[in-house]
């Protein structure tokens, strides 16, 4: 008995796991397809969905791809909580509840004609991947593109198999670093901000998009301003507790904004005072 209401934003719709991709030791990607094949799976890069597993609960998960209208949708998830672990236990063909997409988008349009810096920490690359794909789909519209990616350890790096294509086919600068590297790691060691001086971009004509832990985003923004970017050209994505995703429940309030509907992407100069205030 299918009885989903299309108008009540609190009612999940029925989706099924089509594919499951292991990304790292604790991270996986679920490829979901709507039961209702008529349903559009359009989204804007940066948006998120609420995923529900039966009897366990619901969590906000960023959409990690693909970009084209394709009838399916990807979510890259770290299995570290009750619901995300339950999502990890799902088998192909099993059902999840999905509400969304919610939230605003990365400034893909605004970045046209400019250089673009993508900075990500850990799983922060997941919500940025659709933005990267989106830039690639109109590659000639953008100047230099640089991806600066950091994670704690080598085994936490996501999507690294794609990096060669990104470099080769789309000509973007990809720099990767880890906080601590073991013997097998031949790359950079250190925080992601150390990569900023190592890529070329025109700070007077550049847009930066950052996603990662709050402290990483603040120091990345700081480093970029040192490199000459103004704060109104830097965009970050915020995380807070979220229950409804539609502005009713109040959990994700962040100063003047609701992260669920006014964010999660914010222009840095507009939220800097609040992100800089402890426990805000």
């Amino acid at each position: 008995m299918e009885n989903f209401s299309p108008t009540d934003p609190m009612i999940p719709r029925s989706y099924r796991v089509k594919r499951k991709i292991r990304e790292s030791h604790d991270t996986f990607t679920l490829d979901l397809q709507p039961d209702n094949l008529e349903e559009k799976t359009n989204f804007a890069p940066g948006q998120f969905n609420m995923l529900y597993t039966f009897g366990v609960g619901e969590v906000p998960i960023s959409i990690s791809g693909p970009m084209k209208e394709s009838g399916h949708i990807l979510h890259t998830i770290r299995g570290v909580g009750n619901v995300t672990q339950a999502l990890n236990n799902l088998k192909i063909g099993q059902k999840v509840g999905l509400r969304g997409p919610f939230g605003n988008a990365w400034p893909i349009e605004e970045a046209k004609g400019k250089d673009v810096i993508i900075m990500a920490g850990g799983i922060g690359l997941a919500p940025l991947r659709p933005a990267v794909y989106s830039l690639f789909s109109q590659r000639q519209q953008y100047g230099d593109i640089a991806l600066l990616y950091g994670s704690r350890k080598q085994e936490d790096l996501l999507f690294h198999k794609e990096f060669e294509t990104w470099r080769g086919k789309y000509g973007i600068q990809v720099k990767v670093t880890v906080d601590t590297g073991d013997r097998s790691w031949k790359g950079n060691v250190g925080v992601v901000t150390t990569l900023v001086p190592r890529v070329s971009f025109d700070p007077s004509n550049c847009i930066a998009m950052i996603c990662g832990p709050e402290v990483m985003m603040r120091f990345s923004a700081l480093e970029l301003t040192h490199a000459g970017l103004t704060e109104d050209k830097i965009f970050i994505t915020m995380e807070r507790n979220m229950k409804c995703a539609v502005g009713f429940c109040g959990h994700c309030q962040f100063g003047p904004a609701f992260i669920c509907k006014d964010g999660p992407v914010f222009r840095y100069d507009q939220i800097k005072p609040f992100i800089s205030t402890r426990e805000f």
Binding site: N3, G55, G93, R240, N241, G247, H251, P273, F274, R278
Partner: protein, 386 residues
């Protein structure tokens, strides 16, 4: 201006019967557990005749009046939000079928409420919750269904509590908007009447049936006097000038620490506030594991869980939670909903176990040097948020 008419106590009873006859569940003031609360009423027998309340920070007690006034009290702990935005509500249920499950939505309730005795500040509070649930990007269909059917029989306040400050919030004491009918209780040695006016077409329609008498010049004058007199009785005052800027600029003010020394983080203020709307969801499963339900329940920014994300709790300290509440109520609410979140009802003062008074706290922040500790003074380095 709408035509004023007069009814006596019997007329008020008639009004209640007409509302019941039209299919409304009439909710009004009644005495229970030594407080005046809102619950279903069937006649004026249920009303708190001759009762009033004394209020101060952390203090609420009922007292006998020298007369038999029906609306001679101020405000109790309840507000109308408990009917329109109930403390808990099932959103949907899910039934397991093998490895699959189906979600069965809970249909919006189409109950008809007539709220009798709503005060001006309370009507403003309802208008504010309307903005939250019906005028944003998404609509809360459950709230909307109840709200669209609701009828408001408001009352002009005949007195104010020492915790009232609707005058400074410009939300009262005179009922001006959002009502279908409005009453003013006129009571002296010779008479116990209610001046009644319609505020909507629905109200006019009902008033016709009530068979009220036309009001005289004297009645209208008397009503104006009552309201004017109430306005002079405000026990509190809030200076709202540039209040948003004031609070945004003082997010690190020392007074937040002072408040935190007293605040119990009990969430009472958010429960009694007629505009606080926060909720959480709770997933429950039955013992077979085949049936799951999702419930929405009132929540409060004063709880630890409220701000928990992966990696910890954002607002760990009482200080940060009180600041979240007050800055939201008085400042960011303006950014989000183009109105203050405070209507000056004073409930948060009365029902705070330690009597924290937000009008006073705003005053303390205002009194000190501005910009010393705020977000505009650029003291980022001192406030590592890790």
């Amino acid at each position: 201006m709408n035509k004023s008419e007069v009814i006596d106590k019997e007329g008020l009873n008639r009004l209640i019967q007409i509302l019941i006859g039209r299919g409304y569940e009439v909710v009004g003031p009644t005495v229970r557990d030594e407080a005046i609360i809102y619950d279903q009423v069937f006649s004026i027998e249920d009303f708190p005749a001759g009762w009033t309340d004394e209020q101060e920070g952390g203090i609420y007690r009922l007292k006998k009046r020298s007369d038999e006034a029906l609306f001679g009290y101020n405000l109790g702990p309840h507000s109308w939000k408990k009917f329109l935005h109930p403390p808990e509500r099932k959103l949907w249920q899910a039934q397991k079928e093998g490895l699959d499950f189906d979600i069965i939505p809970e249909k919006p309730e189409h109950k008809k409420y007539a709220f009798l005795g709503a005060r001006s500040c309370e009507l403003h509070a309802v208008a504010i919750q309307d903005k939250v649930f019906m005028q944003g990007t998404h609509t809360d269909l459950h709230y909307q269904a109840l709200r669209k059917n609701a009828l408001f029989v408001a009352v002009n306040c005949g007195q104010a509590a020492s915790t009232c400050f609707c005058v400074s919030m410009q939300t009262g004491p005179e009922v001006e908007n959002g009502h279908d009918l409005v009453l003013t209780e006129v009571l002296d040695d010779k008479r116990h009447d209610f001046l009644i006016e319609a505020g909507s077409e629905a109200g006019k329609n009902i008033l016709k049936e009530v068979k009220a008498k036309p009001a005289g010049e004297g009645d209208i004058k008397k009503t104006k006097e009552i309201i004017a007199n109430t306005a002079t009785q405000m026990g509190r005052k809030m200076d709202t000038e540039n209040i948003k800027e004031l609070l945004y600029e003082n997010l690190n003010h020392l007074n937040w620490d002072k408040i935190a020394e007293r605040c119990l983080s009990c969430a009472n203020c958010t429960m009694v506030c007629p505009t606080c709307f926060c909720s959480t969801v709770e997933d429950v499963t039955d013992i077979t594991g085949e049936h799951a339900e999702r419930w929405q329940k009132w929540d409060s920014c004063f709880t630890m869980d409220f701000s928990s994300i992966h990696g910890g709790v954002v607002r760990n300290s009482t200080k940060s939670r009180y600041r979240q509440w007050m800055v939201h109520k008085l400042a960011s609410w303006q950014d989000q909903f183009d109105t203050s979140g405070c209507v000056g009802c004073g409930r948060c003062i009365t029902w705070c176990p330690v009597g924290i008074d937000l009008t006073q706290e705003v005053g303390l922040i205002r009194k000190s040097e501005p910009g010393q500790s705020g977000i505009l003074s650029g003291n980022e380095g001192q406030n590592e948020n890790s």
